[in-house]
């Protein structure tokens, strides 16, 4: 009952039953743990991978429907992808758990719209939940990767005022 999948440019035979969601095949059978389980129902985007360049929720996509689709996971980006490099420059991650999915969604966005507007960025990223609240840095990193100027309302470089702090009461 083996299924053949095309993952990160390689043809891979897997033993899992056809109805098994891709996420669990990636994680448990192929030990590719970069894609995460967050909700199991396609709500949070932590499991996002690409199929034929389109984002899919691997937690709710059975491997039986994939056919010959070319799957790309976070592992397939290689680490020096411009989006990953922008993520690192901006220190986007906090707990980091959602970031593989965030990055995959951003990769699709920039592949389809190399110079996205602010609204296009937010809209494209709305399917990926981050509980740590790294959203603003995600937006900044996407603009950076796209070579776009940061919006004026982005935080300016950290600056300090000249007033000294009063003594702490603790």
């Amino acid at each position: 009952m083996a299924t053949t999948l095309q993952i990160n440019g390689k043809s891979v035979q897997v033993k899992a039953a056809p109805e098994t969601p891709l996420l669990w095949v990636l994680r448990d059978e192929l030990a590719m743990t970069g894609s995460k389980y967050g909700c199991g129902v396609g709500q949070c985007g932590a499991c996002t991978v690409l199929a034929h360049g389109q984002p899919i929720r691997s937690c709710s996509t059975p491997i039986s429907v994939l056919g010959t689709a070319k799957i790309t996971t976070i592992e397939g980006l290689g680490g020096d992808h411009p989006v990953q490099q922008a993520w690192i420059r901006h220190d986007v991650p906090q707990c980091g758990y959602c970031q593989s999915g965030q990055i995959m969604s951003a990769v699709v966005l920039l592949a389809q719209k190399p110079k996205p507007t602010d609204e296009e960025i937010s809209s494209a990223m709305d399917g990926n939940i981050c509980r740590c609240g790294t959203y603003q840095r995600i937006r900044a990193a996407i603009k950076d990767a796209a070579g776009l100027p940061q919006v004026a309302s982005s935080p300016p470089p950290l600056k300090t005022p000249s007033v000294p702090a009063p003594a702490a009461k603790i």
């Binding site: 039953a17 098994t20 669990w24 994680r27 448990d28 059978e29 743990t33 970069g34 894609s35 995460k36 389980y37 967050g38 909700c39 199991g40 129902v41 709500q43 949070c44 932590a46 976070i74 592992e75 980006l77 680490g79 990953q84 690192i88 220190d91 986007v92 991650p93 906090q94 707990c95 980091g96 758990y97 959602c98 970031q99 593989s100 937010s122 709305d126 399917g127 939940i129 981050c130 509980r131 740590c132 609240g133 790294t134 959203y135 603003q136 840095r137 937006r139 919006v151 309302s153 470089p157 950290l158 300090t160 005022p161 000249s162 007033v163 000294p164 702090a165 009063p166 702490a168 603790i170």
Partner: protein
């Protein structure tokens, strides 16, 4: 437990007085005290390794020049490892580019949090309680390298310098990397009293060079979380839990479960019925196929609407408190006959789930009394204690390997070690040292309780001729987080009221009568990022804004006057800094309205000015100007990140956060019903840090509680009615 104490006695704890353990909470931090004071760590660390490298338990230096800073606090996303590494690296004068971090092993004594007495992360205390400890460790290691170089080069110690990981003697022109000198330095007897730098001479701490060390791992999918652990022969477990809190298994039918390919075993444990399988998907399918007959006769079966009404009645004196006792948290002046109330109002807050991105999980390996946990634990000591009770061993003998957490917000520590204990029970039944990874689904996680408690506040305030509070009566009804803990119940659980207790507004009020009542409800509750401040900041700040408007005063000016009365200079400084950068006093951008709020928590004071508008009746937050006084800033970029992230978590709860019980059953289960903040709803936060030479104070939590009142105050400024309950969005 008796068995444990017997074993402790056998292993040398005989001279100890009866172990008396008392716990209180200060700012969300578990404070475990005992008598005599230092016995606790001694006992709980019995069995733990005391064998550390030549540079002590916090620093490793490799021959290739890399420096590892060992962090006793877990990295749950809050960026503390960047700051912790900087503390040691600064004093060691290490090359920051060759500094990395790792989680410490469990050792209740060596790695004790000085604010808690045992090992644990919480109360935004990581940096503050490591401020001297890690600097001392770095300085002590530096002294060893300097001595080693001086000996090797036959140079006076005073002439040897260290800079960016390079040890040098200018006169002789000799220099070597830290790595080159490891073998020699390791032989130098360490000093326990090294000279620390004058903070004015810091070259790393407080600079923008202090950045996260885990961004590469977390941007490439290679960071290891508990969910990702794979060990030879490992089984994956899921547990069927009762549909209501307090339910017990009567019987179960596992016929269908056992037919699921990959299911290995099904058995009862104290918290439900466990299904262990060869893969996560098999465990999930097996668990879903299980039929369990539950005894729900002793469960909590009230609805949250009923509880809320009960809380309101208790606060209003309409329901008898029975055996419950009101505890005063602020009392000042003699209450006189109340004049006409300037403001009489109430506020209601719902249960909140933490909803970390990585649901709770834990890997446990049990072989007889031997036990190892691999997990993201905020309190290895508690998990050791609870695991030790289950397997019959000394807490210090329980090995704990700590991994990154996919978020916590306070969820990954509680007195019962709920999910870790569950993993240990399963691994004990499996036995033979076979690793078991317990995983919870999102629904398991969301319905397991340990919520931010529901809270009701009732206030009655009179004002003087200038419109400032003359008397302040406050009644708070909320479950106590500390109540019923195995370590004792304090008369006053300060976590219920912190933030109201100690408020500068109360200090500035001549007559104060503020009390809290802690009813019993069968829903487990827990600290949730910023703990008491999650509601007290809202109550105090939204109330003050209403009073300012009643007095016809600008809300920022009104606060300034109260801070002056209370001597709250740090509040005043952050408010001024935020107001200045937000352009308070000048018109906001067209279509936006500003609201201000200020709150102190975990030793830090945060002011926010939020620009808000209503879109289809839902508050939309744009720019949020934030000012924080957190003492000496260590990792400026991560302070900003915590203000950004804390604001988002606080806003998510304010807009949508609400856990609902219907006849005791939790209604929400996933992100479709427990709505959280998404990218297009996330504000842009600007962070300004007050320069300070005070010791560092909290950063992880203080950014969370301020946004909700800032938004409510902006709504007031728009002419909207006061907000008397959260979340803002009711459906």
């Amino acid at each position: 437990m008796t068995k444990i104490l017997d074993r402790m006695a056998a292993e040398g704890a005989t001279r100890r007085e009866t172990l008396t353990v008392a716990a209180t909470l200060v700012g969300g931090a578990l404070v475990v005290g005992c008598s005599p004071a230092n016995v606790m760590g001694d006992i709980l660390s019995l069995g733990a390794t005391k064998d550390f490298g030549p540079f002590g338990p916090f620093i490793k230096v490799e021959p290739n020049g890399w420096v590892t800073v060992i962090c006793k606090h877990i990295e749950v996303g809050q960026g503390n490892h960047a700051g912790l590494a900087a503390l040691a690296a600064e004093e060691l004068d290490a090359d920051w580019a060759k500094v990395k971090t790792e989680h410490a092993a469990a050792n209740a004594k060596v790695y004790a949090n000085s604010a808690m007495g045992v090992q644990g992360t919480g109360g935004s205390s990581a940096i503050s309680n490591s401020w001297l400890q890690l600097r001392t460790a770095g300085a002590a290691a530096r002294a060893m390298f300097v001595q080693a170089a001086a000996t090797k080069w036959n140079a006076p110690v005073g002439e040897v310098t260290v800079q960016n990981g390079v040890v040098a003697h200018a006169k002789s022109g000799k220099q070597a990397g830290l790595g080159d000198l490891v073998a020699d330095a390791a032989k130098v007897p360490p000093t326990t009293t090294p000279t620390l730098k004058d903070p004015k001479t810091f070259t790393l701490i407080g600079t923008d060079r202090v950045r996260r060390k885990d961004s590469v791992a977390k941007s490439t999918g290679t960071a290891l979380y508990t969910q990702d652990v794979q060990l030879p022969n490992m089984l994956t477990a899921m547990v069927a839990h009762a549909p209501k809190f307090g339910g017990k298994v009567v019987s179960f039918d596992d016929k269908a479960t056992r037919q699921v390919p990959g299911v290995v075993e099904v058995f009862q444990i104290p918290s439900g019925v466990a299904v262990v399988a060869e893969s996560t998907w098999a465990a999930r399918q097996g668990r879903d196929a299980l039929k369990v007959n539950w005894d729900l006769s002793k469960t909590e079966s009230r609805s949250t609407d009923q509880l809320a009404q009960w809380y309101r009645d208790l606060a209003a004196g309409k329901a008898a408190a029975g055996d419950l006792k009101w505890a005063a948290f602020e009392a000042r002046g003699a209450p006189s006959a109340p004049g006409a109330a300037a403001l009489e109002t109430t506020y209601d807050f719902p249960y909140l789930a933490h909803a970390t991105m990585e649901p709770m999980n834990c890997v446990a390996i049990v072989n007889g009394a031997s036990c190892k946990l691999i997990s993201a634990s905020q309190s290895p000591t508690l998990d050791q204690l609870n695991a030790a009770k289950i397997v019959g061993n000394l807490p210090g003998n329980i090995e704990v390997q700590t991994l990154f957490a996919g978020g916590s917000f306070g969820r990954r520590t509680n007195f019962q070690s709920d999910y870790a204990a569950e993993a240990v029970h399963i691994a004990k039944t499996v036995g033979h040292g076979r690793p078991v990874k317990l995983v919870w689904t999102r629904e398991d996680d969301m319905r397991a309780g340990y919520y931010r408690p529901m809270v009701h506040h009732a206030l009655l305030i009179t004002t003087d001729k200038d419109g400032f509070p003359a008397s302040w009566r406050q009644r708070v009804v909320t479950q106590s987080i500390m109540k019923g803990s195995p370590m004792g119940t304090p008369k006053l659980d300060s976590t219920s009221v912190e933030g109201a207790m100690g408020s500068p507004y109360l200090k500035a009020t001549p007559v104060v009568d503020a009390q809290v009542l802690s009813p019993d409800v069968g829903v487990p509750v827990l600290w949730w990022r910023s703990v008491g401040a999650t509601h007290t900041a809202f109550v105090m700040e939204h109330t003050i804004d209403q009073l300012a408007r009643k007095a016809g005063r600008d809300p920022v000016d009104y606060r300034r006057a109260l801070y002056a009365k209370a001597g709250a200079n740090r509040h005043l400084a952050v408010l001024n800094l935020a107001a200045q950068n937000a352009g308070w006093g000048r018109p906001p951008p067209a279509g936006w309205t500003r609201g201000a709020a200020v709150h102190e928590s975990f030793g830090s004071v945060v002011a926010q000015i939020a620009e808000v508008k209503l879109e289809n009746g839902v508050p939309k937050v744009g720019r949020v100007v934030t000012a924080i006084d957190c003492g000496t800033p260590i990792a400026r970029d991560q302070i900003a990140a915590q203000m950004e992230g804390g604001t988002c978590l606080g806003l998510a709860a304010a807009l949508y956060g609400k856990m609902t019980l219907k006849d005791g059953a939790v209604q929400e289960g996933n992100f479709d019903s427990y709505r959280v903040l998404r990218n297009s709803e996330a504000p842009t936060v600007e962070t300004y840090i007050v320069p300070s030479s005070n010791p560092p104070s909290g950063v992880g939590e203080p950014g969370t509680p301020v946004i909700a009142p800032a938004v409510a105050n902006a709504l007031l400024a728009m002419g909207q009615p006061p907000t008397t309950s959260l979340p803002f969005v009711k459906t």
